[in-house]
Subunit: 547 residues, 2 copies
C-alpha cells in the first residue's frame, strides 16, 4: 500500500523509473499480493551488493511506514552501510563512473535516475557533490516522497563534516562567505561566478544565492554597530552621517526591480576572435532582483541637497572592500544621470526581501537601474558630490570601450568614456550550446533580453539558419514602461528547423530595444581589448537527428 | 539655373560625387543664395581639361536622361489588351464585382492587392475610378517599383481620356511655398527633399531653407487671425484655447537646439539589398536647428495639467495639414516620454530665430528632442491628453520596425511598436560617394553622428580598408551633456589610405553612443519593408590615383 500512496503523492509529471524504484514497486506488489515469482527477463533478476544495501533501507522504511519504528531522518547515518569520503564521492560525476551525490551524511547513486529527473539534466549540476544547496534553492524537493525516493538510492554514509579553513590570517579571502555550489567561478580570489545558464531562467527574480557575483576585492566583514554611511562634498555643508537603522526608519522604503549585468557578460564570445584581458564570462553574468532601501533623492534631500540644483558634476560612491594596498572600490555617475534616474536610484539594504547577502554588498549597496554593474557599488559607506569623476582604477582605467584597432601598445584610457548605461543585449538560454535535440522539425528557443538606461525590448528575433530568416519571439508580458524598463524580459520562439541539414544547426537571437537600437551582427566589429560590451547576435550550435 | 534643375531632376540614389559635382553644387548654392565670393583656397578654383571633359559627359548624360525614355510610360495603351469604357470600370467597386481602377489609359484589377495596401482601405476611395488624383496627393506612390506593381495588375485599356480639371485652383499643392533650389526632392507632391550632402555640414545649425523637408500632405495656408491651439482631453477639464500672441507673451521663451531626422534617412542604402516602400532618401534627411517657443510643461501647467500626475498614457499632437478625405496628420508620444523630456519639449514658434517657415510648420510645431521627425507635428493646432495612442495612419500603420523576414504578405502593424527615439546614426559627408581623390597617401573624412533619446556620441571610428582597421575620429566639442545630447556632432579623421590598392577604396564610418550602442555592421541584418531605421555602418567608395 505504501508504494501506491507514494506513486499517488508524487508531483505531476514526476516519473520514477530507476532500477531501485522498479525494485521497490516490485517488492511492494509482491509483499502486498503474496506474489513473488521472479521474471527471468527482468533486469532486476540479479542483485549486487549495492542492490542489497539499497534494499536494506527500503525494507527499513517499509517497516517504519507500517508503524513498527520511527522513520530515520533523511541523510542520517545508517549503520551497516559502507563509508565514503567526500573525495570518493567527487570521483563519481559521469555515467561511466556512476553519478553519486550526498545529502547530509547520505551517499546516493543516482545514475539510473538521472534520465527520469523532471528537471532534466539540471540534476547533474550536483554530481559528485552535495545536493542539499540545490534543494535549499528549489524547496519543492523537500517532500517526504522525494526524501524516500532519494533514500531508495542510498549506497552509503559519509562521516566527515566538511572542514573549511577559517581564520587563515594570511589569506585576505579567508573570510569570504560560503557560496552555492552551482555557481560557476571565473575566478576564486576575488570570487567571481555566474549561475549555470540552464538555471538562469528558472525564476524571473534570480534567487540571491544564484545571482552572479562580481567582486574586485575580498568581501568585507562589516561590524553593524560601527557601520555609518557618510554623505559629503558639494552641497553637503560638512559631512552628514547616517546609521543603518536610520536609513531603515527615517525614509520611506523604495523598491526597484532591476537587472544587473557585468560589462564583461558574454566576454567568452569575444575571446574567440582574439584574446582580451578579463574574466571569461559566459552568458550569465546578468541577474535580476528586487532591491529595497531609501531613495537616493530622499537621502540627499534629508542632507539638505537638491539633486536638481546642486552645482556638482558627478556623484561618487565608495565601498568598504579594500585591497592589500589600501585601495577601496569606487565609482561615479554623472549628475545628469543621477537627475534622470533619481526616483529610482536606491540606497538598498534588501535584496529580494531579505538583508543583502555579504557577496552582494551587505549591509548597503547603491542600485542605479539601467547602469553597468560596476557602478553599483557594494558595501557602500560613502557618497560624495563632486566636480570630478571617481578617481578609482575601475572608473578611469578599466570599464571603458575602444575600437578593435586599439590594443595594449596604443591604448589611452583618458580618451574614452566610462561605461555607464549598457547597450541592448540578448542571449539564448535553452537549448544550450552543443545540445543534441530530439526533434528535427522545430525547436523551442528561450532566452533573456535587456537594454540599459531603461530602454525596454521592442522585439527579439530568432533564426535557425544562421540569420537568413527570422521568427519574432513572444516576449513574456510585464508591466514595465518601455522607457523605464529596468529589468530583463524572458522570451520564447518555436522555430522550424531547416530541412536537409547535415545535422548541425546554428541558432541565433538578436534584440531591438525601445530606441530601436539593435545588437551588432558580429563580434569582430565590436572587439575591444578589455572584452567589454560583448553584445553581438548570440549564436549557438545544436545538433539534430538525421535519418 | 541649369545645375539647379539638374540637382532636382536627378533620379534619387544617383550620387554624383566627383569634383565636378562638388563644383556644380557650389555654383548652384552660390547663385541661389547670392553668395558667390571665391575662396582662393577652394579646391574648385581652377579647372583643368579633365574637368571640361567631365562636364561634357555630365551634359551628355543629362541629355540622355531628359530625352530618351526606354520603358513605356505607366498607364499608356498596350496593344492587344481588351478595351473598357469608364462606365465599365465604374461597375467594379466591390470584391464581389472585382475592384478596378484606372491610371491614364490603363485598367487594373486590384482586388487581390487591396488587403496588402500599406495605406489600408483608403485605396478603395479610388475603386471604380481613376487612381491618378490620389497619387497626385500622395505622391510617394509615383515610384518605379509601384508603377511596376500596378502594371502587373493590368487587365486592359480605356480609350476615352478622362477629362479632369488640372487648373492650379484644383491642385491641393498649388499653394505650397517656394523652395530653395538646392534642395533635392525625393517627391514633389507632397514635397519631400533633402539638402545636398556636401552642404549639410556647411553650418552646424542648418539654414532654414536648406533644412530637409518631410511633408505628408499639402502645406496649409494658416490664417493667423483665426489660429488657435486647443489643449484637451484628460486633466484639461474642458477645452483650453491659446492664441499665438498668448503663447509668445504668457510663457517664458524656451530654446532647444535639436537635430530632426526622418525615420527613412539613408533608406537608399536599404534599397540596394531589396526594394522597400518609401521615399528614397540619401544621407541628408537630417538637419539641426534652434527651436524657440513655450515649454510644453509650462503650457500644460497653465491649463491646470501636471505632466507628472495626469492620469493619461499618451500625449497626442494634431496638425492642420489635411488630405482630400479630410485626414489630418497626427502623432503621439507615451506620457512616460513626455515626463522624461518635459523641460525640453517645446511648442515652437521660431526656427533659428525667425518665424518657423511654412514648410516646417508655421506657425507652430511641437519639438520633441531625440525623437523621430514624424512625431514632431507641424502646423500644430491641437494637443490631446489621452489613454490612447494617436489613431493616425502614420502612428499605427507606417513608422514601425520589423525584422527582415516580414514582408507585405505577412506584415501585422499592430504587432510592432511605433518608432519614437531613433537609434545611433552616422554618415560620411566628405568625401562623397564616387569621388576621385587627389591624394593616395591619406584622406580627411568628415561627417555627422547623432543618436536619439539624448544619447551623446562617445566615439566615431573611420576605416579606409572596408572596416578591418579603424581610426578614432575627432569630435567637434560641444557643451551638450552626454545624456541630454539633442543635436548632432560633426567629426573628422585623417586616415591613411591602404597602399598598393587597385585604385578603389571603401571608406567606412560607425558611431557609438553614450549607451555604448553601436551601428549595425550591415544593412542585411536590419532590412525592413518600410526601409526605416537604416543605420548600418556608412560605406562609400572613392577612387585614388594609381601610378
Amino acid at each position: 500500500m505504501f508504494f501506491q500512496q507514494f506513486c499517488r503523492g508524487l508531483p505531476r509529471g514526476y516519473q520514477l523509473s530507476s532500477r531501485i524504484f522498479y525494485d521497490m514497486q516490485r517488492a511492494t506488489f509482491a509483499s502486498a499480493s503474496g506474489y513473488d515469482k521472479g521474471n527471468s527477463k527482468d533486469r532486476s533478476s540479479t542483485y549486487t551488493d549495492n542492490d542489497t544495501r539499497r534494499h536494506s533501507y527500503v525494507l527499513a522504511t517499509l517497516t517504519t511506514v507500517a508503524g513498527i519504528a520511527a522513520s530515520p531522518e533523511p541523510g542520517s547515518v545508517i549503520d551497516g552501510l559502507p563509508t565514503y569520503s567526500l573525495a570518493d564521492v567527487s570521483k563519481h560525476k559521469t555515467s561511466a563512473d556512476g553519478i553519486w551525490v550526498t545529502y547530509k551524511n547520505g551517499v546516493y547513486d543516482i545514475s539510473d535516475y538521472v534520465k527520469n529527473h523532471p528537471g532534466g539534466n539540471k540534476i547533474l549540476l550536483a554530481s559528485g557533490g552535495d545536493i542539499g544547496p540545490y534543494w535549499d534553492m528549489y524547496g519543492a524537493h523537500k517532500q517526504e516522497e522525494i526524501f524516500e525516493m532519494l533514500e531508495g538510492m542510498r549506497i552509503g554514509n559519509i562521516v566527515e563534516v566538511e572542514q573549511r579553513k577559517q581564520g587563515d590570517t594570511t589569506d585576505p579571502y579567508s573570510n569570504d562567505p560560503k557560496r552555492h555550489p552551482a555557481l560557476i567561478p571565473s575566478s576564486v580570489k576575488p570570487f567571481n561566478a555566474e549561475p549555470p545558464v540552464s538555471l538562469l531562467m528558472q525564476d524571473y527574480l534570480t534567487p540571491n544565492n544564484l545571482f552572479f557575483v562580481r567582486n574586485h576585492l575580498p568581501v568585507p566583514d562589516v561590524n553593524l554597530e560601527k557601520f555609518r554611511l557618510d554623505i559629503e562634498g558639494i552641497g553637503a555643508s560638512g559631512k552628514k552621517v547616517l546609521t543603518l537603522p536610520a536609513l531603515k526608519t527615517v525614509f520611506k522604503k523604495k523598491t526597484v526591480t532591476t537587472s544587473l549585468q557585468c560589462a564583461g557578460n558574454r566576454r567568452s564570445d569575444m575571446v574567440k576572435i582574439k584574446p582580451v584581458k578579463g574574466l571569461n564570462w559566459g552568458t550569465a553574468a546578468i541577474s535580476t532582483a528586487e532591491w529595497s532601501g531609501a531613495s537616493l533623492d530622499d537621502v540627499l534631500k534629508y542632507c539638505g541637497i537638491d539633486l536638481d540644483k546642486v552645482d556638482c558634476d558627478h556623484v561618487q560612491f565608495e565601498g568598504m572592500d579594500r585591497g592589500p594596498d589600501g585601495t577601496t572600490y569606487g565609482a561615479s555617475i554623472p549628475i545628469e544621470m543621477a537627475r534622470m534616474l533619481k526616483n529610482d536610484i536606491v540606497v538598498a539594504y534588501q535584496m529580494n526581501g531579505v538583508d543583502i547577502p555579504r557577496d552582494h554588498g551587505f549591509p548597503l549597496r547603491i542600485i542605479i537601474p539601467g547602469v553597468v554593474g560596476a557602478r553599483q557599488v557594494k558595501w557602500l559607506n560613502k557618497i560624495v558630490l563632486s566636480k570630478d569623476e571617481s578617481s578609482s582604477h575601475w572608473q578611469q582605467r578599466d570599464y571603458k570601450g575602444f575600437n578593435s584597432s586599439v590594443d595594449w601598445h596604443n591604448v589611452d584610457f583618458s580618451k574614452s568614456e566610462a561605461i555607464q548605461f549598457l547597450p541592448v543585449q540578448s542571449a539564448i538560454c535553452e537549448p544550450v550550446d552543443g545540445q543534441a535535440l530530439d526533434d528535427n522539425e522545430e525547436v523551442t528557443v528561450r532566452g533573456y533580453a535587456w537594454s540599459g538606461g531603461g530602454r525596454g525590448i521592442f522585439r527579439v528575433d530568432v533564426s535557425a539558419d544562421g540569420g537568413k530568416t527570422w521568427i519574432t519571439a513572444d516576449i513574456q508580458p510585464s508591466n514595465q514602461s518601455q522607457y523605464k524598463a529596468w529589468a530583463w524580459v524572458f522570451w520564447e520562439a518555436t522555430v522550424p528547423l531547416p530541412q536537409g541539414s547535415s545535422g548541425k544547426v546554428e541558432l541565433v537571437c538578436k534584440a531591438c530595444d525601445s530606441q530601436y537600437n539593435v545588437q551588432p551582427e558580429s563580434v569582430e566589429g565590436i572587439w575591444n581589448l578589455r572584452g567589454c560590451l560583448s553584445n553581438a547576435w548570440h549564436r549557438i550550435s545544436v545538433s539534430i537527428p538525421t535519418e
